[in-house]
Amino acid sequence: MKITQISIFLENRKGRLSEVIDVLGNSSINVRALTVAETENFGVLRMVVDNPTKAIETLKDNGFVANTTDVIAVEVADEPGALASLLKVIDAGGLNVEYMYGFVERKVDRAMMIFRFDDTHKAADILAASGVKVVGESDIENI
């Protein structure tokens, strides 16, 4: 089970990040998780939102360079050692993590980790087989 991540190209320019968030907010899109990776001159903003189809349309209409990527969201308990055991599963399965980021849910004691693997399908299969709780698109919408 995989979910859709939105990636947006951003120049390192003052106020640029808030412009993206504004555009999404004005279209009633809710950002669930977000991370920025940057170099000296540019950055890539990656996010998980409640409505990726609408988000990408909105961004393109507003002239942003953006695309979608399949990632895997995994639920872990919000307690010490939980992420470590998840990473052991990933390691044992021979999966390569391109990057990852996480967020904590408000109402329950859970954390969500977003993984970008080099092979998304293989990762989804291995994680499911290991009893890890992989989160689907509908779960993201309902957070």
Binding site: E11, F42, A66
Partner: protein, 433 residues
């Protein structure tokens, strides 16, 4: 001193006689030796026998950089390659570079016109000259080198770069003449100040600066900083390299050695002569070259000309500083850069041409920098930073090798490149030349 007083101070009629005889010889020479010129002549229905004086030059066809590019590498040579003694290469507009070849006689011609140039700038036999133009495929370094030896200078082939060593050479050897690009002269002054060197006390008294556009304001800055007379030199590799024109110490235009490089100033659209003193495109015929003689070569440089005798005693006509270009060529640190070259590289990488823009700046230190902004498009955008960084490095590497100068590349968002009436602005030159 005047290197060749007989020619450089000759009255107009005398000069015309020499030019006429040389053009008559040249017309038969290229017609017999070079299929490209034969075809050009035939197309216009002109035969070498139609050329009876220099005024008949108007009957002859133009030559352009495209002719050189299309005949890469040696097609435009009139002499077979085994008779060519030296080859130099400069940038072309797209694809192949421009290749020029010199026979042994051409090298001698180069030496003598450079000797004339050096004398024009005030050099005297026995002076020492530091040549800080690049040596190699670029014509700057070797042109000055040959001329210096021809006229009896002591030549230091320092080449460009390694500024600390340049300054040490200046302090220890005490050369009187400095030859380099004007921006490098400014850059060296900055470095010298940092090292605690009093630039006003430099050994240099004469500077010969060229290979890139520079303003009167830069001249004043260089003269004040280094305490020298700064003179302007003009040349292009297609004609010979440096040594086509040189300013004398009067500094009222550059003397063009018209007994060997015959100038015409034309309206670039109609091809007709403009009046003396009016701006137009400089067209040059190499009257005596053998390896790669060019007839009515379109330099694309906009200048004006005067035929008045100069206060220095020379009668050779004088051209103004280059006031512009009829194409979009830029000169960065002495290297010719065409926006089309950058387009070529980008096309080669992505298949279709993304929007790009060149931003040229001159640093406080006087060095020109090119930054290439490339707009990121959906089809090569990636969520992975490493892929974008790889793309950035790949563009940079390809551009550096194509242009022969270092550029910085910056990926930017869509819409960053200014567009006016839908057309992207390809070049932003912030140098205020």
């Amino acid at each position: 001193m005047i290197w060749n007083e007989d020619v450089e101070c000759l009255d107009r009629d005398g000069l015309k006689k020499i030019q006429s005889q040389r053009l008559i010889d040249l017309a038969s020479y290229v017609y017999d030796k070079n299929p490209i010129y034969k075809e050009k002549f035939d197309l216009l229905g002109v035969k070498p026998s139609d050329i009876k004086s220099i005024d008949d030059i108007k009957k002859l066809p133009f030559t352009t950089k495209i002719d050189l590019r299309d005949s890469y590498p040696f097609g435009i040579f009139s002499e077979s390659i085994d008779k060519v003694a030296e080859i130099h290469v400069s940038s072309g507009t797209t694809g192949n570079p421009t290749v020029v070849g010199y026979t042994k006689d051409d090298l001698h011609l180069w030496s003598t016109v450079m000797a004339r140039s050096l004398c024009c700038a005030g050099a005297e036999p026995g002076d020492m000259m530091q040549v800080a133009y690049g040596y190699g495929l670029f014509t700057g370094g070797l042109g000055f080198h040959y001329g210096g030896i021809e006229m009896g200078l002591t030549v230091i082939p320092a080449s460009s770069g390694n500024t600390r060593r340049q300054l040490k050479i200046m302090q220890d050897f005490r050369p009187r003449i400095l030859a380099c690009t004007p921006s490098y002269a400014i850059y060296m002054a900055e470095e010298a100040k940092k090292m605690g060197i009093d630039t006003r006390k430099s050994s240099w008294e004469i500077g010969i600066f060229g290979a890139e556009p520079w303003s009167e304001q830069m001249r004043k800055e260089i003269e004040d900083t280094w305490g020298i007379i700064a003179t302007d030199v003009y040349g292009l590799s297609e004609i010979i390299g440096p040594g086509v024109c040189q300013e004398c110490t009067i500094k009222q235009g550059m003397h063009i050695f018209s007994d060997v490089f015959y100038p015409e100033i034309i309206d670039p659209d109609t091809g007709k002569d403009v009046a003396e003193g009016e701006d137009g495109e400089l067209v040059i015929t190499t009257l005596t070259k053998r390896g790669i003689p060019l007839i009515r070569y379109r330099t694309r440089d906009i200048v004006s000309i005067t035929y008045e005798k100069c206060a220095c005693g020379r009668t050779s006509p004088r051209i103004s500083k280059v006031k512009g270009r009829t194409d979009d060529m830029l000169i960065i640190r002495g290297i010719n850069v065409f926006p089309s070259q950058i387009e070529d590289v980008l096309l080669g990488i992505e298949g279709t041409q993304p929007h790009y823009q060149l931003v040229i700046t001159r640093s406080d230190k006087g060095l020109d920098q090119i930054e290439v902004l490339v707009e990121v498009e959906d089809r090569f955008f990636s969520d992975e930073i490493k892929r974008l960084s790889q793309l950035e490095s790949l563009i940079k590497e390809r551009l550096n090798s194509t242009l022969s100068i270092g550029v910085t590349v910056r990926l930017v968002e869509r819409g960053t490149v200014e567009r006016s009436e839908g057309k992207a602005k390809r070049v932003v030159d912030n140098r205020h030349l």
